[in-house]
Symmetry: C2
Subunit: 156 residues, 2 copies
């Protein structure tokens, strides 16, 4: 079926981050709509953030474009420029390789949702703006390092 039945798309929770960062992703869940629809060239996720939750650590992508549209509720986008309030219909674009990390926070008292699209590049490097960590993705495997390239060994 071409139209997606969102009630049948598995709700994904949890995080691939090492601790203590994985625990910070509590209250975040997502539906992998692109995967559910058989798409392979880009991912499309519908993310729900409960009150107090965040979308990710603040990060930027080296090889992959990213696009977000808020679909429900009230979110705060954080970038190097500071905080920006966003509501339903508001959009943001993050071109690959622009070293300005972003994430979204739900500081409201009800759930908020956004649609996020990201290219599926053969390999990827994401850099976390506010902590000494990067992730190197290749063939579906993630390797976390410090920003000097050494294996990740915990917060410094």
């Amino acid at each position: 079926m071409t139209k997606l039945d969102l009630s049948k798309v598995p709700v994904k929770t949890g995080s691939i981050y090492p601790e203590p960062y994985a625990a910070m992703m509590a209250g975040r869940s997502s539906l992998r709509l692109g995967d559910a629809g058989g798409l392979t060239q880009f991912g499309v996720n519908l993310v729900t953030l409960q009150p107090g939750a965040m979308s990710s650590l603040r990060h930027w992508h080296l090889h992959e474009d990213e696009f977000v549209m808020v679909t429900e509720g009230a979110l705060i986008m954080v970038t190097d420029a500071g905080e920006t309030a966003m509501g339903p219909g508001d959009c943001a674009a993050f071109p690959a390789g622009r070293p300005d990390g972003h994430h979204f926070l739900n500081r409201s008292d009800r759930p908020a949702c956004f649609l996020v699209v990201g290219t599926k590049a053969p390999s990827e490097v994401a850099t976390y703006s506010d902590v000494d960590m990067m992730v190197h993705m290749s063939a579906g495997r993630a390797r976390f390092t410090h920003k000097d390239g050494s294996d990740w060994s915990g917060p410094k």
Copy 2:
């Protein structure tokens, strides 16, 4: 600015289709949000269909994945399976190379909108399900042909 100011994104109208099909696209307009945000790997367009308008001729893409989320109003999606009613939050996915053409019709009495994402492949072929026409895209140029590959010379 990372958050897009939709009021400053140019409203695109018109069609690259040859006549008589270009005229059938009256009442359709779009905002090229991905381009406005500096993205190059996939396009993200916010399309508005006035009452009676259609999104495109019914078509499928050979190389490019496509994803749609309805954001406002009521639309009819048409595929080989027939008609499917869609409203805000409803999503559909069209994997590259699946030969099942789709388009969206606004049969309601008020405007309807959807967000559409499509990969930007180096070259592309789209096939129109209901008419004897294809388009071959390369380096930003479009060449329309009949389905036997001959130059397009009008409806048969």
